[in-house]
């Protein structure tokens, strides 16, 4: 394995850029985006289109006594009012969830969270549809809600899922990983055991484009066209076929430009189904587009993990084992999106980047009267929670031992020669050079100098009782992406392999068709560059087609940073197949033996006589021309591949955050953030940096301001962007990024995926910095988000629960 250190990236892409292959080029899709010419869901307009709107529950838990829709139906512009009772007659009131459960499309018996779908109005225009919602009269019998996940399993807690036969509690599952006995044995011989209760509160991916759909059921040929904000168009189509009984070939799902997904657009929402039902009933196309509040209160949230961690070590700081007990709040329906066999996602990769023999975790999932979800927001199937757990525990251990957290990490990091590494919870990390990445981050930060500055500031604070408190936080993460090997990983029975089809036209231009779906990640550029790198066809000559089930191969879509690891591999292999076929054609053209040819990006030539050569473009024309091809070789130049990844890929990185806290107000300012990422070779370094920048901003947001809390009545307290705060450039420092390059041994291009690395890795760095700054006050932990109020209260040893409404206590 090699680790190549490259010079720090420059800020600007080279406007010339390389014409062929990998490198820093402008994004092809930006030509339309920067002109405002993107085509998002709400831009889809079809003649005769009607507009739908959802009536939502104002309460968190209640029995539906009666729904009176007569006044709404009498509205002159209303075409249909659909209730749960109507859906029941169509057998569509409930649908399977992504996790062995069901979700309600429209509530029939009870409402189970604020914002749950209760009725759907279809009207001539959006305004009338919304007006008509106010004309629907729903009578509820209010029930006590379960708001605090920690009380969900208490005897006597209200039972939320009365729809499940004999259900007498709010328990969903217990799940374990690792070896409890072996871990205990390590704890028994430890010098030090540190425990901490950590909360990763509920947050929301909050894509700037909310969710929506336009359903057009053609009453004549029975074909449904569904434009939909989906990250996984093919998976959606199959689910509609299975659930609604529509024949799959009569469903076309089109995912147009997507304005951010972050996992929020993986699942199937009731609104999508309702637009389809609305179109079937009215025989007209029906658009449904949720507003901001609806997106925040009802669609897939992320995290909500209440974690109890224990870490055991020797007095010299050698980690021996880790134990974790998790209470997972899944909301009212278990609808987390992850490979079927893993109810806690990939949380059991929590052993992190360190070398120790044993670990064990137990995860208990519970129902609460909150919106369903849990796996979203660039979390890599809960690697976010796992990294937060281990990185906070390692810092906690350092604090307990009085050891520098960088030194403690260096002491325990996996060494390059340990790869492929088999972790105590069953993962096989593909490749890595962790100490090099951490060292690079420490060097970039000027770590020793920062610690000196901190010591001075602390002394000054102690002398005056005022001024800034400085903190330095480190996080080292191992990501787990590119799901995944189909024999282990499926979603609703669909194996997680992805397809790619590549066709080179006679003139040497190409079209590549993908099963994954970009949401802003720049696939139209990255995938063109992959094909270009392998075939030598210029990036500009390659059209990327995705997001349309009628025009792309089957695959499971884009989430979990899987596009490049899975579809990227498919694209590389399809490209190689094209190059191989071009070789035969080139040999025929030059009347040479294929074995005598050699490839140099874009050209086959006869070894030893470089003047005898043909370009890939020339082979393309010949492949479509009158040239007589050898026996068994078909004309044209195309290839396809369905890629079943042999393993996941494991990007990693070392992050350092420097924060200053105003001791008088508790306000945290992130002064510097150093991020060294290793995602293998970088196809387009600018796009990779963009992904890292975005994820770092996510991390600052989650660590400092983002949270979806609920009051006692189960009311969502993060229902607008005035309440759910997203960070802006003003809260973000100028990111200092670095890279090491450790290729994945099993990926055809060595690349690992980077879409979620920074979101996964950055929150613990910020929180570690905050706790480090507050250490002189005896602080060992703080709950995210570290708002000024929470920091001030924590300084006084009076933290409040950030997942509940703030009270006076």
């Amino acid at each position: 394995m090699t680790t190549v250190e490259e010079s720090p990236a420059t800020d600007q892409p080279d406007p010339e850029g390389p014409e062929v292959g990998f490198g820093r080029t402008l994004r092809k899709e930006d030509i339309r985006f920067v002109r405002g010419k993107g085509n998002y869901l709400d831009d889809v307009r079809i003649p005769g289109m009607l507009h739908g709107a959802v009536l939502r529950s104002p309460i968190a838990h209640g029995r539906i006594v009666n729904i009176d829709t007569s006044a709404a139906e009498a509205h002159p512009k209303v075409k249909a009012v659909i209730t749960g009772a109507i859906l029941e007659t169509l057998n569509l009131a409930w649908a399977p969830s992504l996790s062995h459960d069901v979700i309600a499309i429209l509530a029939t018996d009870k409402v189970r969270y604020q914002g749950q779908e209760v009725a759907f109005v279809v009207a001539e225009d959006h305004y009338s549809a919304r007006d008509a919602l106010e004309l629907i009269d729903v009578e509820y019998e209010i029930l006590d809600p379960v708001v605090d996940a920690r009380k969900a399993l208490e005897p006597g807690a209200p039972v939320i899922r009365t729809d499940i036969e004999d259900k007498a509690d709010n328990h969903i599952f217990d799940w374990e990983s690792g070896d409890a006995d072996a871990t205990q044995a390590q704890f028994d011989k430890a010098d030090v055991v540190v425990t901490e209760d950590l909360l990763y509160p509920r947050v929301h991916p909050a894509p700037l484009e909310t969710c929506g759909s336009v359903a057009d059921m053609d009453p004549v040929d029975g074909k449904l066209t569904l434009w939909c904000t989906t990250q996984a168009p093919h998976a959606h189509r199959t689910v509609y076929a299975l659930v609604a009984g529509l024949p799959e070939h009569k469903i076309r799902v089109i995912s147009p430009d997507i304005g951010g997904g972050f996992g929020n657009k993986v699942g199937i929402y009731p609104g999508y189904v309702l637009s389809v039902v609305g179109s079937i009933i009215t025989k007209k196309p029906v658009k449904w587009m949720e507003n901001r509040e609806e997106n925040l209160i009802s669609t897939s949230f992320a995290r909500d993990y209440h974690m109890h961690g224990e870490i055991a070590a020797t007095s010299e700081g050698k980690i021996l084992g880790v134990k974790v007990d998790v209470l997972a709040d899944h909301g009212a329906f278990n609808n987390t999106a992850q490979p079927t066999k893993f109810p806690a996602g990939f949380f059991h990769v929590f052993t992190g980047s360190y070398d120790y023999p044993a670990a064990h975790c137990k995860v208990t999932g519970v129902y609460t009267n909150k919106a369903p979800g849990g796996v979203a927001y660039a979390c890599s199937f809960r690697v976010t929670e796992a990294v937060y757990l281990i990185e906070r525990m390692v810092d906690r251990l350092a604090q307990q031992l009085g050891m520098d957290p960088a030194e403690l990490r260096m002491k325990n990091l996996l060494q390059p020669e340990q790869f492929p590494y088999h972790s105590p919870t069953g993962w096989e990390y593909d490749s890595g050079n962790y100490p090099a990445a951490l060292q690079m981050a420490l060097d970039m930060a000027g770590y020793d100098e920062l610690r000196r500055e901190q010591a001075e500031k602390r002394a000054a604070y102690e002398a005056t009782g005022s001024g800034d408190l400085m903190g330095i936080g480190i996080s080292f993460f191992t990501e787990t992406v590119g799901a995944g090997p189909r024999k282990h990983m499926d979603i609703l029975g669909l194996g997680m392999a992805d397809g790619c089809e590549l066709r080179v036209h006679p003139t040497g231009k190409a079209v590549v068709r993908l099963s994954v779906q970009t949401q802003g990640q720049g696939h139209e550029t990255t995938f063109a560059q992959i094909v270009s790198e392998v075939t030598g066809i210029p990036t500009a000559d390659i059209e990327v087609v995705h997001g349309d089930t009628d025009n792309t191969p089957f695959g499971l879509g884009t989430y979990g940073s899987r596009s490049t690891p899975v579809s990227g591999a498919a694209a590389a292999i399809a490209s190689r197949r094209v190059v191989d076929k071009a070789k035969i054609i080139a040999a025929t053209m030059m009347e040479a033996n294929p074995d005598d040819l050699e490839w140099e990006q874009g050209t086959w030539s006869v070894k030893g006589s470089p003047d005898r050569s043909v370009t890939i473009q020339e082979t393309a024309m010949a492949a479509h021309g009158p040239l007589e091809l050898p026996e068994g070789v078909e004309g044209q130049l195309d290839a396809s591949c369905v890629y079943d990844p042999p393993n996941l890929t494991y990007p990693f990185g070392a992050y350092i955050c420097v924060a200053d806290i105003d001791s008088g107000t508790g306000h945290v300012k992130v002064r510097r953030f150093i991020a060294v990422d290793d995602c293998g070779p970088r196809i387009n370094p600018m796009i990779v940096e963009g992904q890292v920048h975005g994820g770092l901003a996510d991390g600052v947001g989650m660590a400092l301001m983002e949270v979806i809390a609920f009051d006692e009545g189960g009311n969502c307290l993060g229902a607008s962007f005035m309440d759910y705060l997203l960070p802006t450039s003003m809260e973000c420092p100028s990111w200092e990024t670095g890279e090491t390059v450790t290729p994945s041994p099993h990926h055809p291009l060595g690349v690992k995926g980077v879409g979620e690395s920074a979101t996964v890795g950055s929150p613990p760095a910020v929180v570690n910095a905050v706790v480090d700054a507050l250490a002189p006050f005896g602080v060992t932990d703080i709950d995210m988000p570290c708002t000024p109020a929470q920091v001030w209260r924590t300084m006084q040893g009076r933290r409040f629960r950030s997942d509940l409404a703030i009270t006076d206590d």
Partner: protein, 296 residues
């Protein structure tokens, strides 16, 4: 897209026209200025006015001028105008500082001084700042014109003492005398957010003592959004570190904050004191009344 309930829209061409339209549409009609408080509430369907009377086309309400020791700010002057004004910065640094942290440029380009004051939001920064500066609003209504001190304009959250058919046309702010300055301190959870707490302090110093002081507080439920007891305690006093501490404590005592997702009441009360001390210290320093700042 969040959409409001149906309403009638009218565009007023003069103050008298606006008053006539208000009378015509009755008690459920509302004036709309920048719309940045009213329209969001309508889109969330928290507000449901039957008619909107748009006052953006009325001439002459968007001027800032100084005459006879008084600055006059038209009701339709936008936040952006106030922020950009040199004459405002020269006389009332507090207003410039407050404007810098009110909302974001998009809101500041449309939101108006009149709308801010009449919204009567307890967290509105200009209500605190103009209250500290002892500004008054001039109104025109069916009963003619009157002047109302900003400190007396609000009648509880989101309520003003204005009659149904009365509108604010301008704000008058007396220019300070002697050595004076002012400062505004606001803590927000994120840029563009409303205040967790904010404090604006204006001071005039004569003969080595504080001759006049105004302390405005936003978002902490101080009566009339000012700290009157703290003002009384400071007037006539020699500026000192101890005085600043004491005034901060009194400002905190003037508050009765609500506990909400911005923070618990005890924290907000602490902030009211802390931010008042900071604003007072800076105002005194800039007024030349505190030279040994380092010692404070």
């Amino acid at each position: 897209m969040q959409v409001p309930a149906p309403f009638v829209y009218e565009r007023a061409t003069s103050v008298q026209d606006a008053l006539a339209l208000l009378a015509k549409h009755g008690p459920d009609a509302r004036l709309v200025a920048g719309g940045h408080s009213l329209l969001p509430m309508m889109k969330l369907r928290f507000a449901d006015p039957a008619a909107l009377i748009d006052i953006n086309s009325i001439d002459g309400l968007d001027q800032i001028s100084v005459a006879d020791g008084i600055m006059t700010i038209g009701a339709m002057v936008t936040h952006a105008q106030l922020l950009a004004s040199d004459v405002v910065a020269q006389h009332f640094p507090m207003l410039t500082e407050a404007e810098r942290v009110i909302a974001d440029p998009v809101v500041r380009n449309k939101g108006t001084v009149g709308g801010s004051l009449c919204q009567a939001d307890p967290a509105e920064d200009l209500s605190a700042a103009l209250g500290a500066l002892r500004a008054s609003v001039t109104t025109i209504g069916s009963g003619g014109s009157r002047s109302i001190p900003v400190r007396e304009l609000h009648d509880g959250p989101y309520q003003t003492v204005l009659d149904e058919n009365e509108m604010v046309t301008e704000v008058t702010v007396p220019l300070p005398s002697g050595s004076s300055s002012s400062a505004y301190e606001k803590l927000e959870r994120r840029v563009g957010d409303w205040a967790i707490a904010a404090s604006g302090v204006s001071v005039s110093v004569a003969d080595g003592v504080i001759s006049e002081i105004g302390i405005g507080l936003a978002a902490v439920e101080a009566p009339n959004m000012v700290a009157a007891d703290a003002e009384d305690a400071a007037r006539g006093q020699v500026p000192s570190a101890e005085l600043i501490e004491r005034i901060g404590e009194l400002a905190a005592e003037a508050t009765d904050p609500n506990t909400d997702q911005r923070g618990p009441a005890d924290y907000k009360r602490h902030l009211a004191g802390e931010l008042t001390k900071r604003a007072l210290r800076r105002a005194l320093t800039n007024a030349g009344a505190l030279t040994n700042e380092g010692a404070l």
